[in-house]
Structures are given as structure tokens and as C-alpha cells.
Subunit: 500 residues, 2 copies
């Protein structure tokens, strides 16, 4: 195939040179810019531009210390009331006859249904077995989480939105430029256009920095993915008061604060392709992938949707569907009145966890290279058995009634870590459009080598942040909690390099 | 995090140096070999060793020209009779009461069920819509397809098995060292141990060359993946008469022959990490992944299992379940008697396509770099909407009744290509353990630039073989037909470099 000549004759005998295809305008456009059609598979400049943005603590638009004042001002500018209501007061939602599923009258948005999960460790029930039922959110459509990027003064800035979401404890947080369900951008809201969406629905292929389908919470969603995107533009971007341009260095600083950068933004930011500046890792990429393949092959998770009315162990009240022992989460309903949303008011169900969650990476330096201990974790709502989760991911309160031996591995190592070992901590909120007051404490903790050996138990392995970043180019490797922690690790690194 | 010192003290005050963890034997083993725990993320020598194997046409074990004689001899050595039987004569299989699903009495192996597929191009039915029902094989377990590798005379050789499968038109083909369902290696066959399986069930992490979950036919299987593996060994491997060691150059030669290298072997071989020797591609990796993400987001494929008895458009006879118009495939039953299998005889259902299939890549050189035209194709049995398929993948006979405009894109360009444009062709069989006489013509065809522009229609794009090889490190990108063609492209390249 390598001997093919540079010219070929078509059926009419015309000779085309290797830059042929005179009928294709896109090709001609490329030709006028450069005679070469083939480019490098990797954009080497991009990593430099990202490093510069991460090292830039002073933004061209707003100083980091002024972001809070701006957020507070946006919070005052818009009237936004969220109130719990009984299910009976939901406007366009109802419990479907027969199944008891909670559905929107249009058939769009999402539904709350039941899920039956059976997990075997081996095939055919020859390993440990877990089985449970739970309510779950089903939304079989791909939304867009898009951050617009642009060079200001030669430094990449990212357009963040001050966005209100009814489930956020403080209502308004820093969000991607665009976060739109397909219902949004196909106008199910019948409201104003979702701003700026065109940069992401029809992205310029030459300016895409991140574009990958990533999973959402597998414990609360049934096989939900969103399209995580960063797209650069050279266009003038009309700047509304709800938006501000920030460098990666500024965002890193803000990621150290509680309830400030929302889950969708953290997820997109975890996919930023920083360069790997380390010499390697404990396990090569091939070894890491082989370990992951083994975990996915070994586990057998079967999840089946069932009617919400039939879910065992949960009770259905006037204002909430909740677990009989008060654990895990509730399904609740809220009424929302707002001024700056696509519609001016609505009611909707939300999932409300009963307590503060915990997501932590244990970290160790190996030959001077930081590694985190990842966990191949099964969640009922994952598309495929397991994804890579934090070392510890749980709601500690759900385990308080259990003896120590039945608590999640490494939970006590994280909870008992002295302050000197805590490299990062902040409380972040999960998606405020679906989850009510869903807050988790995110921690990066120096491992005590005695408690976290280099030969960890099955389903755990050591990986470098660079390896995890490489995996975020593809979907269904890192779960959303480990993506948040990866964004936090990037933020810690940016800060230590002086992005302040 | 980079300021961490090389020593840390545990809770008892003992000081560990950075090579600590004295309690972990694996670490100590590594330490005794080398003081450095961190390795490069990529094994740079491996690509050289693979290139050497591909360039080696003369194997240490058997000459390529003698492989056929060996295969013929193995064919004679074992009695193997396959006979069609009516469903009523299936031994341990029955049509389940109520659903009509075809099931094994043990509940293991696989079932034949019904599938209802709805495909929208846009969300909520606002794009073109297709809907159909069909029988489908369901086997919710991960099998192992493993090839053992070993250096003989300094050159990597691969241990291929002469394996009989009842659905193969010539019964016996070159197969991976091991192909085992979990039923096999957990002894559901109650027969002899599957040989050599331990190299793959507990692979040595330092010697894994390939280890990835790859999908099988999405038109015939419901969400089936197998673990594709190549593991190297330095051990003595007891050589039975059914096995032979071949270089990649020898296998490349054999891949040019009809019905010789089985589907599982082709799938594993497509994942061999050859080095990319080209300067780049028309689209960067980020662009290619972004295009793929867009295709996956745009399409909406919902597949639901239904009872086999309820599948519309198919009729259930004494010897076959077939499509009312005689298209697509039949479900049939066979009786097998064999000497060298895990069990000495059995009956089983098989899927039998009604006609020869076609799978073809159109190929174009762009700036001297070969590119193939891939298709983001939806199949009802895929885990996630679309995978990358050949430019053309169909059973041409299924479209003979349609006007030209309704035939698959590029079908005529492939069928009408003059012999001078055909770079590769061979007829290969699909998996003989599930499919009866399922043969497809695999083609690589030089594109007429007038018919295959660099701006192809939606759902098609140009990618280099090296880009496709990089994607085979991960599951659910390349479907099994495009993996076969990628293995063929590797074979064409090996041959042109003199691996003869």
C-alpha cells in the first residue's frame, strides 16, 4: 500500500494529484492555508498553552478575589426561590398509573423509576453476591456540558457561567458556559434559546480541546452520560453579566473553596489535557488497562429497571420516597421560581441524599512520582460493570451501624488521617438540577505507607494523575467522583506551581 | 505534592524510605531486580519486537507453506461430524415455556431471545426512524480469547491452535491459543480442563501485550464482549499436536487465504500494538475522537429484549426460525460429534446467515499516508449506540430488492471496483461456535477519489490504520468486522515489507 503513486486517474481518465478532490470546498479551504493535509496526531502546542493558563493566576477579566463578589452580585440580581412541595403539587409531573414511575407529562426530561441490581463477583453466582433495589433517575439522552475557551492577552481563558440550580445549597455556582439537556436545546422548555450552544452543537473540529462522553453518578442515574466539551473560539463572544472569563490558574484557586465550582464544570475540567511531566508510573499504561480489563471481566453486575411502585425497602410518603431505615437518599419535589432561566418557574423532583458524602484519594509518592489509589467500583447505573472510583467513596453515615470489618476499605484510614496528611479538602455539590443538597467532602490524603501498600487488595491499584488524565479522553473509565478529584489534583498542582 | 520528602514516618514512628513497604513481597521482588519502581508508561522495545516478528516470514517451528498440510493432518486426526437436526432433537436445549426463548437446561452457555430495536437519528423522534425485531443471541458473560507469545530464536512467535468449530464451513481453522467462555473454564462442560488457560486467567502483568474487552457482532449478539489477550511467556510450553508457533509475518501470509484464520484470532491480532510509522493523519486523534463523540451523541438507539416467541416478521419452523422474506439469517440446530473437544458430543443452536456477507474499507492515500473510510454504524446489539465499522458492511443480497438510492452508501463503489483497485481480498468465517457457514468477503479497495471525497457524508470519516490500532486499546470503538479488516491491513503492510 505504501507503493501507491501520488497520482491516480479516475474513470474519465483525468489525473488527480494527491491533493485532488477539486469538488470539495473544505479541502480547498485547507489547501489555501497549507499544502499539507496531514497533521500530527497530537497537538503539541496545546499542552504548552494549557500549562501557561494554569500558571496564570491573574486573569484578564476578573481578579480571582473578585469572583466571590461577582457571584454574590449575580445571586442578588436574580430572584430565585426554591421550596419543597408535596408530590401532589408537582405541576407537569405525575406518578404513572401501573408502574408508579414519576414522569413528566411531555414524556421528556427524566423519569424516576426503580432499579434491581444483582452483583456477582464471579460468573454464575460462584462469588460473593449483593442484591438490592432502589429508585433511580432515567434520562436516556446525551446532554452537553461545554466550556468555551479563548485566548485573552495570549493566555487561554475559560468562560464560566454563574448559574442557579435549585438543588445547590447556595443556589448559584460556577458552571460551564453551556449545560444543556437535549430537551433544552430542542426547545422542550419552550423558553428562550440556550445561549452559546451553537459552539458545541456544531463545533469547529480545528478548535476542539475536549469532547468525550462521560458517565454521571452510577448510584443515582441509570446509564447517564453527558458530552463533556471544551471548544476554543477566536470570535467575539457577547459577554452577558452571568459570564466571566477565568484562567485555569484562577479556576484552580476557586476549586479549593466549598460549593463554588459545580459538578459539571469539575467534570469537564478533569478532562483538560495537561502534559505528563513525570518520568512514568508504577504500572505501564498497558498494565493499568489490563488490570482494568480484568476487573471488568471478573465482575458481573446485572441491573434491570423495575416499576418504582415495586421497589422493595423504600416507602412512599406525601413529600418523599425514602429508604425504610432512613439511609441513602430520598426522592423529593420542589417548586422553583426564577428570573433568568429558560422558563420563569417550574416544579420538579430531585434526589436528596440523607447525609454528607465522602470521596477521597489516598496518594503516595513512588520514586518521587505521586500516585493515587483507584478503586474499580461497581455501581448499578453504570453502562458497563465498573468504573474507576476514588479510594473511598461513600456516605459514612450509611455504614455507622456496621462493625469496622464491614466498613468500606480505607474509610478509617481517610477519616483518621491527621491534618498534616491532608493535601486537599473541600466540600463540593453534585448536580443541582437533579440532586438536592447533595454535598460531598472531597479529600486528597497522603497515605500512611503501612496502611496502603504498593500491593493493594483486589479491585484497587495505583495510578498517576497523568494516567487518569489520559483515560479521560475516553468514556466509562473514571466515574464522576474520581473526575472531581482529578480536577482537584490538577488544581493542587497548578497552585503549587505558583498559579496564584 | 511535589515537595513531599523521601521519608515518611508511620503511626508507630518507624521511618520508611520511598522504597518502603517492607511487608510487601512483590515490592521486594521488584526491588531486588532494580531500585526503580517507576517505569515508562509505554514499552518502547515492544514495537521493535513486533516489527521484527512481522518482518519474519520464516518461522522457527513450521514453514508457512507447511501450515496447510498440518491443518489437513489435524483435520484427519480427529473425527468431527456436524449434522443439522430439527429443534426437537436438541439434547439439553428447549424452548422456554412462555417466552419461547431457546435456552440450555443448565441456564448457562447462551440463549436465543428476541430483540426490539428503535433507532432515531435525533432525540425524541425528530430524525429519521428505523424500527425492527429480530432473534438475537444473549450470552451475558465475558469469554477469553488469548494468544500466547514467546520468543523463539529472538523473534516473537504466537501459539495458534488448529481448532474445530461446528459452524466453520471447513470445520477447522487457526484459532487463538485459548478461546474459552466462562462456562468453559468454570467447567460447565464437565470435560477436560481448557489447556493453557492459566496464562490468561491470571496473567503476569509484566508480560501482557494485549488485554482489552472487544465487542462481537452487534447484529447477532446482544451486548457481547470478549477479553482479547496476548500474553508473553518465557516458560516451556508443552506443545500438543493441535498447536503451532507462528510469527506475525507468517500469520500475515495466512490472513491472505480464505477460511484459514478464525474470527477470534483476527480480532485479537487487530489489537497488536504496531508502531505508527506515518507522520500523522488527516484528522488529529482529538478530532477523530470528537467526531466519534458527536456521532454517539447524535444517534439514539434503544434496544429491548423481548420474548423470542413474540418477534414479528419471523416464522418458527421445525428446523429453523427464519425471516418471512428469507432475508438476514436463520436460527438452526446441529448435532456435533468430536474427539478432541472438552466433551465428546453435543447439540446446539447456531445462527446461519442466508448469504455471503461483505465488509470493505475504501482506502485513499492522503499526502502519501493511507487512510480508510470508517463508518459510525448503529447495531441493535451494541452496548452503546454506534461503533466504527467498515465503509461497507452488509449482506448484498438483502438489498438486491431495493432501488440503488436505498442501497448502502459506497456499496456500488466497492462491488464495481476494477481488479486493479483491489488491495486485499479474502473470504473469512465468523465465529464457528455460534454461526453456521457465516462467511464474508473482506475487501480493501482503493477509492476512486471522485466517489470518495475527503469530506464524506455524515457518519463517515477518514482515519489511518495507526489511529484505528490506537483505538483497539479500548473497547467499543471498532466493531468486529472492522477489526478483521484492520488485521488484514496489518497483514498487507507486513507482506509489503517483505515478511514472506
Amino acid at each position: 500500500m505504501t507503493q501507491q503513486s501520488d497520482t491516480t486517474a479516475d474513470s474519465a481518465g483525468r489525473v488527480h494529484d494527491r491533493f485532488g478532490d477539486a469538488g470539495a470546498p473544505a479541502v480547498l479551504r485547507r489547501l489555501s492555508a497549507s499544502p499539507a493535509l496531514v497533521r500530527r496526531r497530537e497537538d503539541r502546542d496545546l499542552a504548552d498553552r494549557i500549562a501557561l493558563s494554569a500558571a496564570t493566576g491573574r486573569g484578564a477579566h476578573l481578579r480571582t478575589e473578585d469572583v466571590h463578589a461577582w457571584l454574590a452580585e449575580r445571586r442578588r440580581a436574580d430572584v430565585f426561590h426554591v421550596e419543597r412541595i408535596p408530590f401532589a403539587e408537582l405541576d407537569e409531573w405525575r406518578f404513572e398509573r401501573g408502574t408508579g414511575n414519576l414522569v413528566h407529562h411531555s414524556g421528556r426530561f427524566f423519569t424516576v423509576e426503580g432499579l434491581h441490581v444483582v452483583e456477582h463477583d464471579g460468573p454464575y453466582g460462584d462469588g460473593p453476591r449483593r442484591e438490592w433495589q432502589q429508585p433511580v433517575i432515567r434520562q436516556p439522552e446525551v446532554g452537553i456540558l461545554g466550556i468555551l475557551a479563548k485566548e485573552l492577552g495570549g493566555v487561554l481563558h475559560f468562560l464560566m457561567q454563574a448559574k442557579m440550580e435549585p438543588g445547590n445549597p447556595n443556589l448559584l455556582q460556577l458552571s460551564p458556559t453551556v449545560q444543556a439537556t437535549r430537551s433544552n436545546y430542542t426547545k422542550a422548555h419552550r423558553g428562550a434559546d440556550v445561549k452559546l450552544i451553537d459552539h458545541f452543537v456544531r463545533p469547529d473540529p480545528d478548535r476542539v480541546i475536549v469532547d468525550v462522553l462521560q458517565s454521571e453518578q452510577g448510584s443515582w442515574f441509570f446509564r447517564k452520560s453527558n458530552r463533556n466539551m471544551i471548544v476554543e473560539t477566536a470570535d467575539e463572544v457577547p459577554a452577558s453579566d452571568d459570564f466571566c472569563w477565568l484562567t485555569l490558574g484562577q479556576i484552580a484557586e476557586l476549586l479549593h473553596e466549598d460549593d463554588t465550582v459545580n459538578m459539571n464544570a469539575r467534570s469537564v475540567l478533569s478532562c483538560v489535557p495537561y502534559r505528563d511531566t513525570t518520568p512514568g508510573a508504577l504500572h505501564s499504561d498497558a498494565q493499568l488497562l489490563s488490570w482494568f480489563t480484568g476487573e471488568r471481566s471478573r465482575r458481573d453486575v446485572r441491573a434491570r429497571r423495575i416499576p418504582l411502585a415495586s421497589v422493595r425497602g423504600w416507602k412512599h410518603g406525601v413529600e418523599a420516597i425514602e429508604h425504610e431505615d432512613g439511609r441513602y437518599f430520598k426522592v423529593a419535589a420542589v417548586s422553583v421560581r426564577a428570573g433568568n432561566r429558560e422558563v420563569v418557574g417550574w416544579t420538579q423532583p430531585l434526589l436528596e441524599p440523607v447525609a454528607l458524602g465522602l470521596a477521597a484519594f489516598l496518594v503516595r509518592e513512588i520514586d518521587g512520582v505521586p500516585h493515587v489509589l483507584v478503586h474499580a467500583r461497581a455501581e448499578g447505573g453504570f453502562l458497563d460493570t465498573v468504573e474507576l472510583a476514588p479510594t473511598v467513596q461513600c456516605t459514612p453515615g450509611n455504614y455507622a451501624h456496621l462493625p469496622a470489618a464491614d466498613r468500606p476499605p480505607f474509610l478509617d484510614a481517610v477519616l483518621d488521617a491527621p491534618p498534616s496528611r491532608i493535601r486537599y479538602q473541600a466540600v463540593h455539590s453534585e448536580e443541582g438540577g437533579r440532586f438536592l443538597n447533595a454535598r460531598s467532602r472531597y479529600l486528597v490524603v497522603d497515605a500512611d505507607p503501612a496502611a496502603a501498600s504498593l500491593d493493594p487488595p483486589p479491585a484497587y491499584t495505583w495510578a498517576t494523575p497523568a494516567q487518569l488524565r489520559a483515560l479521560t479522553r475516553h468514556g466509562h473509565y473514571l466515574n464522576v467522583e474520581s473526575r472531581t478529584l482529578l480536577a482537584c489534583l490538577n488544581a493542587v498542582a497548578a497552585r503549587s506551581r505558583g498559579g496564584k
